[in-house]
Symmetry: C2
Subunit: 346 residues, 2 copies
Amino acid sequence: MTDRVLEIDMIARLTGHFARSPLQANRLQQSDSEIIRVPDGSPIDLAITMDSIAEEIQGGLYTDPYMIGWMAVMVNMSDLAAVGAEPFGIVISEILDNRCTPEFIETMQRGIQDACTACNSYVLGGDTNSGQQLILSGCALGRVRRGAALMRTGCQAGDVLYATGPLGTGNAYALGLLEPHLRSRITYLPQPRLQQGIALREFATACMDTSDGVLGTVDELVRLNRLGFSFTPDWERALDAAAHEVASRANIPAWLLLGGIHGEFELLFTIPPEREPDMLQAARSRGWEMLMLGTLTAAPEVLLPIEGSPHPVDTAVVRNLGHTLSHDPRGYLRALLDLHDKIVTS
Amino acid sequence: MTDRVLEIDMIARLTGHFARSPLQANRLQQSDSEIIRVPDGSPIDLAITMDSIAEEIQGGLYTDPYMIGWMAVMVNMSDLAAVGAEPFGIVISEILDNRCTPEFIETMQRGIQDACTACNSYVLGGDTNSGQQLILSGCALGRVRRGAALMRTGCQAGDVLYATGPLGTGNAYALGLLEPHLRSRITYLPQPRLQQGIALREFATACMDTSDGVLGTVDELVRLNRLGFSFTPDWERALDAAAHEVASRANIPAWLLLGGIHGEFELLFTIPPEREPDMLQAARSRGWEMLMLGTLTAAPEVLLPIEGSPHPVDTAVVRNLGHTLSHDPRGYLRALLDLHDKIVTS
């Protein structure tokens, strides 16, 4: 992992001028939501996060108004889930363009409300403007017991990495746009993992959602914790069955379902091996399927079994390719396939 | 005031599907920020608000990157001020277009940071996307003593309406864009009124910021409280001197500085007459100039002295005209001038 991550460089550039609040409990990039300490010994910390659905609409990845509304809520609730926060709700700013007929808007608002209902939460307020392109920006607010928020940091070599559900649906959905005959084979409507996040506060040493894909998330976790990661040989078990089938029908190596930047909004979390039995027991009692992905290592590289043997994958390179997805999805896929060839022939 | 307000209709349509949180202390439109009750007897309520700078940039009203950054913070902080909240900070989502050179972005980020410093507050986090037009969406978070948030409702006939500072700069600035030779005569960089908002919790019966101009704010206050309003004969005293001069050089009736939709982000607040001396004393001791605008009336109309005699002004009509400002500023000004002629000749 010698490469610089373009996104990290950009964030550093954009925030270079900004002073940091003394009430902010997390460092830059240290957690999926910003954690704010309420003064005067309050028993809760606040969690706040903001995310926009813009490039996904502009690039044609999201076209269905119900899905656009659903995603505007879910991408933000997922960031609350990743810190173990309980949501107060969300505020949403809508930039409406001229495709927004009353029916389109009505369906989009229904997607927003249904996603809130799925999260047992609410739209608290918002704002509307007209513009040249449709954009939904959400800001979700939640609370967590003081000092108990999950961070991306805190794991150690030997900790085991789990996912809260099957992986690869986000990238299989994106693939379906390039291969229309496969499109009907995949449904993509990420479900909230808020309850899992709250329960994981007791077990996890680190947590982050897969909003930018599994390898992007693994990259961030190992980078922040100065560790490496070794995927278990049977990691394909963690793939969503329909996603797996879409990839094989499209003749795409299965690991690209982890490598693509369009995530599935599951949580990835780390746990010390001695805590695994209790965590699995707690998950079973709630009917949750937690999927083991591998083990954190002291050696700072990411090892992934591809075609039967473990290969080091430069996850910074994988992340940086992602910047082309929204404006050139075919070129993006081609670049990932080239990377695959390079990895398996090296 | 027989007219329906288009903006209110639109908000009702957009939010018709949304369930309301049982923790939300304000009704729809009842306050400038959403007020959230923290459970378990917390001594504080949370205030959250979201506002985007989109049409102002798209329509050419805001071009200077420093001002764009400043406004993205200030429009949101102003909504916290209007409920008397103390800010935790702001999260900002940026949609960057191809005009955004590194220098442009750097200047914009400096405007953001300087506005935060002026508010004694912080950028807490954010998000960046690329898109077809530059848009900054902010979401500000604050706190207020439980149950103490200022609302737009609560005033009575006989209460006196004040402004926290001179009026008309927002519309004079917009006018300067149409009359370039006047442009240098007006500076527009709204200042925070957070300290005023906090102090006013002790005195005010209702409060709202002038983000959409003074008459739009008066319309909303009288509408929500089922009252009317009578401007004091010497209301022109409350105009910013430079704004007043710009209007008279452009041959624009002074009251259009109140009627235009591009506000100055002062607070308008109401106060029972018996509390006026204490409020004025408190303001004086802090060096604040509070400007009296008139008195709330039981009769549901807005009376404004124009050219020496009081005229009823249909503030709903004034508000509805505002929808044309961003895409046709000259047509908007013409419509306001036509309205003026209609009022003074009726």
